[in-house]
Amino acid sequence: MRLQDRLEWVEGWGMAVGGAGYVFRPTDSGGIAEAFTAARVEGLPIALRGAGCSYGDAAFRPESAVLDLSGLSRVLGWDAETGVVDVEPGVSLAALWRLAIGDGWWPPVVTGTMEPTVGGMLAMNVHGKNNWRRGTIGEHCIEFDIVLANGESRTVSRKDDPELFHDVIGSFGQLGIITRAQLRMKKVHSGLVEVKAVSAPSLEAMLSLADDAKDKWEYVVGWIDAFARGRNLGRGLLHFARHLEEGEDQDAGSSLDAAGQDLPATLLGVVPKSLMWRFLKPFTNRPGMRSINLAKYGVGSTVGDEKVYRQSLAEFSFLLDYVPDWKNIYLPGGLIQHQSFVPANRAEEVFRDQLEICLEHGLPSFLAVLKRHRPDPFLMSHGVDGYSLALDFPVTDRRRDTLWKMVHSLAEPVASAGGRFYPAKDAALPGDLYRSTFRDEQLVRFAQRKQELDADRVLRSALADRLIYDD
């Protein structure tokens, strides 16, 4: 195939940033080698891509080769006794839970969508609603195989080479290509979780309730009405969930059936959910979203408050998949997300600032999500002992520059408070601000690793160029 025949538009999940890339879709190691050879001949850097679920520019680089690894999607081994799975990097989270649930296992860390690949999840070291309890996906990885930019292949295990192990995971695909990963799944006794919904009238209450719940519940996630002002600022709803203990689910055999976990295709059994985003589209503006946020809080803080119910694991976990193609409501400009991680003792102050900055700019977040986190041992970690606030913003041509500048304003108090940022979500941070959240020795070590494993900087992404590399 001619190189120009590989040219495609490749974009982030949020559809707000993208670029032309020469896309290679290998299905085996020979295909990876072929892509490297072609890229070398053309002098093209290579950006790694899984399912393209990073919101911003992590999985492409304009005018470069893009190595789409989603075609390497074989399950190489599954031990139903120990819950250890060996997979190629393109295996999706959906494939992973479908494989395991029938045997009573569930991925220990899941994202809000089941689309990401294992390779992508390890590259970005993703977390879930149970970050405080279970850490990031990297903490459940036993070992992985990696192909370096020079073609050399290595097996890296947590036990035998802990330094390299913790440097590669979370290094957003800049140190090598993970071609196999071994993960340990989490034992579950039911395909259901028990969920409790509570409302909080203020940001202070949100943080306090989330903190109280973190040791009692497996999952803690909060939604904030980012349109609320004054004494209502930061009000929202929290959802806590726990796995059912053995014996609690009388029909565990049925709930652990993968087919039974599939999300319903219709709403109320009538309206195809694939059409729902079209109904939501007219409300994708400030007045519309203000009304939706208000209604959601209104219902959640009255009839929904303190409600306890059971929900399937998939339904609770993969909210972003609940309405297919919902992100299309943000077209044509797409969306960006800013997720900041702030130490617990500064979180209220910083998040209050952020919500107020958004309101002052006339750009309130259409969807704001709060989570509780803990630090992790990875070199380029985004984890802190504290909270994260993820803010979704629609992108329009007219307000794009203002939005990007506002994101810088949102990030400054985070950096000052000793917080961190999450590359999987980012599209707009300036590099100096991102780097300022790391200690010098961390950045030096990353640079040394890059020099050691990929001195010619063959592996690059638009995100890495923006956040890490200065040239």
Binding site: L7, E8, A20, P62, E63, D397
Partner: protein, 248 residues
């Protein structure tokens, strides 16, 4: 619509130069392509100096060297980091006496105004078609609307260019690529300087401002300035036996 990465062929003077300066001042990265390397470099340096960063790159190229174009398009896209706007503004209009039939001059006009345009816009159109996005702008002329006695082949080349742009548009519109035909009237450039009988003359910068506005809005065909649309609709609908008597 934002233009972040633009290529302008014919950027060393006139409308092309003005488009380059305006796009760069708005924050776009711009590739300036033209035959006259010294002029290009001067413009590039002025743009970059005003911006305080590298916004413009200069690529010397004679549009008659058509075989070089596909490689240049790829190189420029890589250097810019993308290509979302391509403008063909190169043009040749040598002085032709009313009783002169000069194949050498005519050939130059066809080569620069039409063949060069096809050579540049073909690979760009193919690239944009693959990506499902992009805007192509062709700087034609009101002269392309009728066969005018004073300069037959200039009119021919521009009429051919307009037809080519329309065909491109019809191929690409459903694939997400916009093709905009611009028909300027009299613009104060080196090409028109010293010519007699000019009216409604506008500056190259004003023309560039209008052209970019039309391109952003994805207008199909725009006269610049707009009042030429009325004039040209009258001229286009005029019977030949009347038009020939006007001698324009």
């Amino acid at each position: 619509m934002r233009f972040d990465h633009a290529l302008i062929v014919g950027a060393s003077s006139g409308i092309g130069e003005a488009l380059g300066r305006r796009l760069a001042s708005e924050g776009a990265k711009v590739a300036l392509v033209a035959r006259r390397e010294n002029d290009l470099r001067r413009i590039m340096e002025e743009i970059n100096s005003a911006a305080g960063e590298e916004r413009a790159i200069a690529v010397a190229h004679d549009v008659r060297a058509v075989d070089d174009v596909p490689g240049l398009v790829q190189e420029i896209a890589r250097r810019l980091g993308g290509l979302d706007l391509a403008i063909y503004a190169a043009g040749s209009m040598p002085a032709v006496a009313v009783d002169e039939f000069n194949t050498s001059k005519d050939r130059e006009m066809i080569e620069v105004n039409l063949v060069g345009a096809v050579a540049w816009l073909n690979p760009i159109a193919e690239r944009m078609m693959r990506l499902g996005r992009g805007t192509i702008v062709g700087i034609g002329s009101v002269a392309g609307d009728r066969g005018r006695a004073p300069n037959p082949v200039y009119c021919t080349s521009k009429a051919g260019f307009h037809a080519f742009l329309e065909a491109l548009r019809n191929r690409l519109a459903k694939l997400g690529v916009r093709v905009v035909t611009i028909k300027p009237g009299f613009v104060d450039t080196a090409m028109t300087r010293g010519k007699e009988g000019l009216f409604w003359l506008i500056s190259a910068d004003r023309a560039a401002e209008i052209i970019l506005d039309k391109a952003r809005r994805g207008v199909v065909t725009a006269y610049v300035p707009a009042r030429w649309r009325l004039v040209m609709s009258v001229i286009r609908s005029m019977p030949s036996f009347i038009f020939s008597k006007l001698g324009i």
